[in-house]
Symmetry: C2
Subunit: 332 residues, 2 copies
């Protein structure tokens, strides 16, 4: 089992990526192909001790920066770690690709270089968020911001397989994110998506309102990439602002500082709510290959978690399971 990891992706690359990879090869039965600027990555690897046969180094002379346009790996930088790394998956020796780099660039390079699973038109990014039950899976959170109702059906089928196979939830429930519970709610787009999902998706529980995203009402919550991105970022921002407001209040009262110190442990748990790096990155689903997008701020631990989640996808032969599920439900 060999996974390609983009050594140059993310705000703390290559340091955090290399450290995470080293932890992973020590802990798991996995081999890693680190792709990036060879000298830079080799220098970083020297700081660690690890079983040398488990990490391979592949040179990619270019780096797609975080703020470049999504088309960059396809046009200006065809020798980037993203372009070359994704393309390695065409060789059956390499089983998956992980990057904490430019999300749009990874989506574009994967879509063009790997193609789509038969029956799927557009890729989607899923993320795991904690909930009052355990966790939920939201898809799409940004790959396809202006989808057709069919694309939401496809997302639902893919998400269901992922949650079952990789996250181990038997018979996962699927909900459509909407502004009301009744089938008549939302725009024409949402009503059409509802109808399609009702017809084709096992365990479809109907609409889920946004105040139920974190209650665990549905195992998979399906939405367009624009709305999913808003859900993710508003959650992140709200927790951050709430934290800052709390600190302000606490500073006004010396007794509260003691209270806060006592509570610190639970707060650190709560911060995970909006930090998907804790859950091993966000899978890019629908493309014909296993691709995982990690948060730009990924720590070594997050990279290690992403490798673990990707290993599970490989072990469960997930691309084949996706294809079966989609071909059963969608006539192309």
């Amino acid at each position: 089992l060999k996974i390609v990891v983009d050594a140059m992706g993310g705000d703390y690359a290559p340091e955090a990526v290399v450290a995470g990879v080293v932890e992973a090869v020590k802990e798991y039965d996995v081999r890693i192909a680190l792709i990036g600027i060879q000298d830079r990555v080799a220098e970083e690897l020297k700081k660690h001790t690890y079983p040398a046969d488990k990490i391979e180094l592949i040179h990619a002379p270019e780096v797609v920066e975080m703020d470049e346009p999504a088309s960059s790996p396809l046009r200006r930088k065809r020798n980037s770690s993203i372009t070359l790394g994704v393309s390695l998956l065409k060789n059956p020796e390499y089983h998956a690709f992980i990057s904490a780099g430019n999300t749009g660039a990874v989506v574009a390079a994967s879509t063009v270089n790997l193609g789509m699973i038969h029956g799927v038109d557009r890729p989607g990014i899923g993320i795991v968020v904690p909930s009052l039950k355990k966790f939920s899976f939201i898809m799409d959170v940004g790959a396809n911001t202006d989808p057709k109702p069919d694309h939401l059906l496809q997302s639902a089928l893919l998400a269901k397989v992922y949650v079952k196979e990789v996250l181990g939830v038997q018979n996962p429930t699927i909900g459509l994110l909407n502004i009301g519970e009744e089938a008549s709610k939302g725009t024409g787009f949402h009503k059409d998506a509802y109808r399609l999902m009702e017809e084709k998706v096992d365990n479809f529980i109907g609409n889920v309102e946004a105040n139920e995203v974190y209650t665990g009402k549905a195992d998979c919550i399906i939405c367009d990439g624009f709305v999913g991105n808003i859900v993710l970022k508003v959650s992140e921002g709200l927790l951050e602002s709430t934290g800052k407001l709390m600190k302000r209040e606490i500073k006004k009262n010396p007794l509260a500082i003691i209270g806060a110190a006592i509570l610190q442990f639970s707060l650190s748990d709560l911060r995970k709510l909006a930090d998907y790096s804790e859950y091993g990155g966000a899978p890019l689903l629908g493309v014909n290959g296993i691709v995982m997008i990690s948060h730009g701020r990924s720590s070594p631990k997050a990279i290690k978690n992403a490798i673990r989640a990707t290993m599970r996808e490989v072990e469960h032969n997930i691309i084949e399971t996706f294809s079966k599920e989609v071909s059963q439900k969608i006539t192309v």
Copy 2:
């Protein structure tokens, strides 16, 4: 100054509404026309003492329930407190209408019975949310779920006037809620709205990402009603779930119970983040009359706050100011 209040609207009506109205007439220089099932409201009023000449009672035999379709006050229940209450605004003696009832029904009844301000095509609901600076105003949060870019421009112009006149912010800044900062981000709809706002809206600061909703980056945040509703409800749900998770964690540790008790005061402040009733309800803007929608769970205090905010709208002659702003910027 006389305001019509829907005595039958909201989960705790008429009790909470009547109690809030009584507090308001004692505290402010305002007269109230309470509209609803006369006997029920009169019975409720008997529990209070108040200056009798400041509260008038108007009979409306029907009640639109919270889960009825939005068209109900226009079709099945034309003698409801919502239909009759809104219609009273055609009489210049009555200056504004407040309801904590069925939001869709209030929007429909107001749109049809009052008509729109010249130059505005569709109404929008705005809400005040607290932010790290002080507060921001988000519009639309649910009236117009599938708008045209023009409608977002109209929302921006109305929101700007409201925030300046009623909330007292000089030169409020306006942002477009989007999934990235650059003008090229989002769907075609968002790019068109961006272009229109850049051209016509003073103090337009460009796109605002969802993680900036609570930082106070923009005084007015403009979005379609679907996305606005998602922002509101995901915030509400996240705070609720976070609170529950905290309680679970705290219960595991006796020391933490002490810490939590000390911190309680700041938590109650933080809950206000997603509770717009604290800010006096959500104005329905764009219709040719002053209409305020209060939260279904409005307490007497929330009703009182809504009355105060509506009084400010009347005092600032807001409908005229809306008309001027819109006619200056939009050629019809």
